[in-house]
Point group: C2
Chain length 215, copies 2
């Protein structure tokens, strides 16, 4: 069984807007920007949230190393300049996904506060939420899911965040999830979904649903 498509969404004068797409989807668009150390659980939690939202018919998409580092940003390395350009481009792509009506989740270490703040500035109020996936370096290093900490300690990887490059903690993130305290991915994903629910992202306000929106 597949769902029926909407037949009651009508186009007004002008180009299709984000509000139009939100009406079509039946939920708000937002960028959830996950930040934290390697091994903290960013991508795992984001992909679990994606599954939960998918089952509810919500349009969500995850940008992470798997689909960005070997594609759009394959020309970039790990110097401070390249890390900044990496985050800038991801921010611009996330903005496009928000404009397209998605709940887009980005899962990158994004260690520099200034880079994250620049992405926030790209978007409008309410379109960006910083989610700090907090975890002690000791726990991340003990997990070491990709063996990267081991390589960093051996000096095989230069400029590794937390070891030989800085991580600047968020000052005022919209949500903090500490995975060194609670590491169950379902529990942690449900906290993100609760954040979306409590802030009204999983439905659209009546005035948006009923109004002809001006561009």
């Amino acid at each position: 069984m597949i769902k029926q498509r909407a037949t009651n969404v009508h186009w007004h004068e002008g180009d299709i807007t984000k509000a139009d797409r939100e009406r079509l989807n039946g939920h708000r668009a937002v960028c959830l920007w996950f930040t934290g150390l390697s091994g903290s659980g960013k991508s795992t939690i984001a992909r679990e949230v994606e599954k939960i939202l998918y089952e509810r018919g919500i349009h969500a998409y995850v940008l992470d190393g798997d689909n960005i580092r070997h594609g759009l940003n394959k020309d970039l390395g790990f110097s401070p300049e390249d890390r900044s350009e990496n985050i800038r481009r991801i921010g611009e792509v996330a903005k496009l996904f928000v404009d397209a009506g998605f709940i887009v989740m980005t899962a990158f270490i994004s260690p520099y506060r200034k880079d994250r703040d620049n992405v926030r500035k790209l978007m409008k109020e309410g379109e960006f939420a910083e989610i700090y996936i907090k975890c002690t370096i000791d726990v991340c290093e003990a997990r070491d899911p990709k063996g990267l900490y081991k390589k960093a300690r051996a000096g095989e990887i230069k400029e590794f965040t937390g070891i030989s490059a800085p991580y600047e903690e968020p000052v005022n993130p919209e949500l903090v999830i500490d995975t060194s305290v609670e590491d169950d991915v379902r529990v942690n994903a449900s906290k993100v979904v609760a954040f979306l629910e409590e802030n009204g992202y999983l439905q659209i306000p009546q005035e948006v649903a009923s109004a002809e929106v001006q561009k």
Copy 2:
């Protein structure tokens, strides 16, 4: 009135795939790559197609100069190298939108055959269709909607496609629309929609609709 969200889409083991998103949306995902001279009508036709698809509840999105040149690619100029990098990045973003389940339309001059072919290679069979918006340089220059040809003739813009930089026509595009013969945007947009219909993009095959898809 807003539409009801699907409640009958269930997640299988593994991450959410393009096929899952196509089931959720009720249509296929594809990149329609519009190419042609400045003033040929690429963006105008793409945005008209977007409106038609929106009214049918189809998830479509246009990438064009308006949302790319001042955002993701604001660091790039118009040299051959920068034009290539411009197209490479747009191709990678289009690929993400296809993966996310969209009918994504890109509207850029994209004058070099090699750059367009590289984007085609990024995607799988059936995920990319080249749409040549054909128009004589005389007609484009007479239209000159942004006054760019005038500036190019005056030497105020260097490396302007068709005047002082080459345009390499597509060799074997999936669709050709000649706007110097027919310039009604609705007629031309309907040709694109007909292409999508005839090639099965506006519905999903029964086997995709009913199957549990493996990653």
